[in-house]
């Protein structure tokens, strides 16, 4: 019972982790690593690279625990670190091009039914996006950042962020309509 109450007290664990307690650090890692790896995977196609980025992110988390003031949730704080690490990784490996050309493909095909899309399919759709579109789309649609915040983090203008989101949505719609058509075809075949 004592052990359970000890581990339920996250503040105490954070304090111990700050002082370099390995057990507390491992407990925190075990609790948050799966969700954080998911976050990193949203941005990085390769799972191994995503894991490496997550590990680097956790190193930063444990190294900078002193700067966590308990003002927001600890998970939210770690998540921000992971997002920044992922963005840094993408930038480091290849320069991100924020393509301003209009996505030429028609957006006429609207999807009427998407409930069949599971998370793997969604991830595949996101993976297919160019890095610039992908980063803005995830930050805006999934993480809930504003265009101003995105512009600050990515060091672009707000209008670039908006245009990148617009294009990302267009591409996704196209992809979804393709999938829908395929699905419908499969369904009718059955």
């Amino acid at each position: 019972m004592k052990i359970i109450s000890f581990y339920n007290n996250e503040k105490l664990l954070l304090k111990k982790a700050k002082s370099g307690n390995g057990e507390a650090q491992k407990w925190l890692y075990n609790k948050y690593a799966p969700r954080m790896l998911s976050v990193c995977r949203q941005y990085i196609k390769d799972l191994q690279f995503a894991e490496d980025v997550m590990v680097d992110g956790f190193v930063k988390v444990f190294k900078n625990l002193d700067s966590f003031r308990n003002e927001g949730s600890f998970e939210g704080w770690i998540r921000k670190i992971m997002i920044r690490e992922s963005i840094t990784y993408l930038r480091k490996n290849q320069p991100v091009v924020y393509d301003d050309e209009l996505y030429e493909r028609s957006a006429a095909n609207q999807i009427s039914e998407t409930s069949y899309l599971d998370v793997e399919e969604i991830q595949l759709l996101i993976d297919a996006l160019p890095d610039g579109y992908k980063m803005v789309f995830i930050m805006y649609a999934v993480e809930g950042y504003s265009h101003r915040e995105i512009a600050d983090i990515l060091q672009v203008t707000e209008s670039t962020s908006k245009s990148q989101l617009f294009k990302a949505r267009k591409v996704l719609r196209d992809k979804l309509s393709e999938l829908g058509v395929r699905n419908k075809t499969k369904g009718s075949g059955n």
């Binding site: 390995g22 690593a33 995977r41 190294k63 998407t114 949505r169």
Partner: protein
């Protein structure tokens, strides 16, 4: 499906998702954390080392500075200064002493006297404390003593030079004695003349000592003990007397011719 609904669906699905990391991920993380910890420890030790070195340097420099100060203090010890009475200045000093103390000292003394007094003052001030000082201080003190002695010897010349009237009187006395003896047909050898001069020198010396005796002078007493200094002084006086005697004799002989 409207775009917003579609995005909400994506968000829900992604938020729910959890991907279990591989076992190697924790090993990698823990090794990175421990290496960082070691790095921090190294940095801490390095900083501590620098701090310790600075403190050590400060302590050493403070000890060094303090030792220098102590050495300087030991080097120049102020001794309870005896009255700066000029040794061997009988012709002028008694007069000066008798001035009832109203006149300023600087105005009553001859420049040579002032010089002698100054030297005596320095000699009084800088007295080596050989028994208690370290070797370096002793060497310094020896140098100082030698310097003082040298200056004293020079001053002896000046001393006798300042008493021309007394010396001249003695020379004349000797010349008269010799003349008197020559008149009574007693021829004098050089050795006899020398012995007369020696006698005159002794009398002069005794007189000067007597005059000095009226003033209580610690330096004069010290000089008495230092026979070496007196010896130089006597020889010097003898030379002066002899030279004066020869001059007077030559002048008399030239006049008689």
């Amino acid at each position: 499906m409207a775009p917003l609904k579609f995005e909400e669906h994506i968000k829900e699905e992604l938020d729910k998702r959890e991907i279990a990391p591989s076992d190697r991920a924790w090993d990698q993380l823990s090794s990175q954390l421990s290496s960082k910890g070691r790095g921090n420890m190294k940095t801490k030790f390095f900083r501590l080392g620098i701090a310790a070195a600075i403190i050590g340097l400060l302590i050493v420099s403070m000890v060094y500075i303090n030792r220098n100060r102590v050495m300087k203090k030991e080097d120049i010890k102020t001794v309870s200064a005896p009255a700066p009475v000029v040794k061997g200045a009988p012709a002028t000093l008694p007069n000066n002493i008798g001035v009832e103390g109203n006149r300023e000292v600087a105005t009553t003394k001859k420049p040579s006297d002032v010089l002698v007094e100054k030297t005596n003052k320095t000699a009084n001030k800088i007295v080596p404390s050989i028994a208690h000082t370290p070797i370096i201080a002793q060497e310094k003190n020896e140098k100082l003593v030698r310097g003082v002695e040298h200056r004293e010897t020079k001053l002896v010349e000046k001393e006798w030079n300042g008493q021309d009237s007394l010396i001249n009187a003695k020379i004349i006395e000797v010349v008269e004695q010799v003349d008197l003896m020559e008149r009574t047909d007693i021829s004098l050898t050089d050795a006899e003349v020398d012995s007369l001069l020696k006698q005159a020198q002794k009398e002069l010396f005794a007189e000067s000592k007597y005059l000095e005796g009226h003033s209580v002078d610690a330096m004069a007493l010290l000089a008495d003990v230092e026979g070496e200094l007196d010896q130089n002084s006597r020889e010097q006086l003898f030379e002066i007397l002899k030279a004066g005697y020869i001059k007077v004799r030559t002048a008399v002989a030239t006049r008689n011719k």
